[in-house]
Symmetry: C2
Subunit: 310 residues, 2 copies
């Protein structure tokens, strides 16, 4: 049996399309799972080599099921990320006209992205939530609903046709997916990498979170995402999921993580991996005095001073 | 017609129970709405005096529908907050035994709070999501499902009985609700208040968010919640919803908000209102040099210096 990747199913969703953009997916068996939790559990138990799940959506924000799974339980690590633009097609049974559509279905996450289109084109259509967009397409095939919002690629699989394509309320509606595996040595830096960590504050005092972020800022490290997630210890108790620009093998990121390890109650490293949004050539020049060379030179200088060789 | 409060319906949910804990609710007509959006729209159009909606849950985190409504559109203001402990009852038709329960239903937000209980007591039960916990109870009454997770108070309304009560996976599972109205002069400070704002960063640079938080920390103001919400401008573009301890009529909070107004691209004030979690007597002493008196004394001293009266 070949090595397998678990992914959030069913087949024919944006997740499967995003997964197939990874070259390594071609050599793996791709197995759909019913939930983010079950896909990640398959990695934890060794049933799958890695799991591919959505983690962030430019309209809805962080995918809390994924964040909460990465924050708790046996540690996992992010190996890769994929960005996919999300536009919907209105799928119907062949021959259906727009004026015939009385009921529409899709995953609830699709609703904010098609709300304006619905208001303008099908103001009286009744919305029925489905477990996934692919499931909505299946229910249209079975005659239960008149139309489904799903990726255009789902039409062929369910014997439907696209009455309309390129439906999206927000320009640049994108979803970010991650390939998650068991902890391992992170891949070598590419020059355009990001590092994901989870931070738990030691206690709650004025400036507590500011001090945590200072460990990055002081070293010229840009933050890309900061999501707070409840720790389960009651209202107002949060941990912070942070994506920062850079790689743990770089001196400044290593120093920032050491600083956080000292001042936080707990830190969970979630991986260093290539950024999907930019290439090395597009990475901005760091602030003066915060390049990798300057970090190395400063470390050597301190060593020389400690040795009396200044 | 008496003044009315809109609330997230249907009747018989935790939202209605929380609303009825407010003394002012007794003198208002309470009208259920089908969504957070429609309840808040009723305030914007003047149809309702205020709307009562959930905003934060200690298990699931921020209620994104509410945050996104407060962040965008015509400005609204939070007048009050209510904290409610959430424990579920398993409601069934009279005579049903636990061993008869093959299908269970509730709002999806209930699922993480009853997951462990289900695994231990009804491992084979099939989960069916409902539009609300009250709706799940109604569907049990109609015979569509065998059992619903809902507040125990919903049993009487739907002719059901509670097979089990006090079901909750997380200790201290609480939901925070807010009463939202049109912008007005905030109520006078009580000594235990919080201030809610939304911040949009001017641009994205290392330390950008740290600098925003510094406006609070520098003045000894504690942050209670920080939630990031997508701005809709693509992956990685977020604004920040922040709750900070204190009242806008206090000198240090006013100064912090002025600082933010200067350095942010935009700031939306969402209100100053009494905290539901503590009383004035329980509010911690501020950091040395950051009490209201010290802020006042320092302002007078600078004025004297400017006048040559030092």
């Amino acid at each position: 049996m070949p090595a397998s990747y678990a992914y959030l199913g069913p087949e024919g969703t944006f997740t499967e399309v995003a997964l197939r953009t990874l070259p390594e997916a071609a050599t793996r068996q791709l197995i759909p799972y019913v939930s983010v939790q079950s896909a990640l559990d398959a990695v934890r138990t060794g049933e799958a080599e890695a799991a591919f799940v959505p983690i962030e959506n430019s309209v809805e924000g962080g995918i809390t099921a994924t964040l909460d799974e990465l924050v708790a339980g046996t540690p996992l690590m992010i190996y890769r990320e994929v960005l996919l633009s999300i536009t919907f097609a209105l799928l119907v049974r062949p021959g259906t006209k727009l004026s015939d559509v009385k009921t529409v279905s899709a995953h609830p996450a699709a609703q904010p992205q098609v709300r304006n289109w619905l208001k303008a084109n099908l103001p009286d259509a009744v919305w029925e939530s489905a477990a996934s967009n692919a499931d909505a397409a299946r229910l249209v095939q079975e005659g239960r609903y008149d139309a489904a919002f799903a990726g255009e690629f789902a039409a062929a699989r369910y014997g439907l046709e696209a009455l309309e394509t390129e439906i999206h309320d927000a320009e640049n509606a994108q979803t970010r997916f991650v390939l998650v595996g068991r902890p391992a040595r992170p891949a070598a830096p590419t020059g355009a990498d990001k590092t994901s960590v989870v931070l738990w504050q030691r206690d709650d005092h004025p400036g507590g979170l500011r001090d945590l972020l200072g460990e990055f800022a002081t070293r010229g490290i840009n933050l890309m995402v900061l999501q707070s997630r409840p720790t389960g210890a009651g209202i107002g108790n949060y941990c912070f999921c942070i994506d920062a620009a850079g790689h743990i093998s770089e001196r400044r990121m290593a120093e920032a993580l050491m600083g956080l390890k000292r001042i936080c109650r707990d830190v969970r490293f979630l991986g260093s991996y290539p950024r999907a949004d930019v290439t090395a050539a597009q990475v901005r020049t760091p602030l003066p005095g915060t390049s990798e060379d300057e970090f190395m030179a400063a470390a050597e200088w301190v060593t020389r001073c400690q040795d009396g060789r200044f």
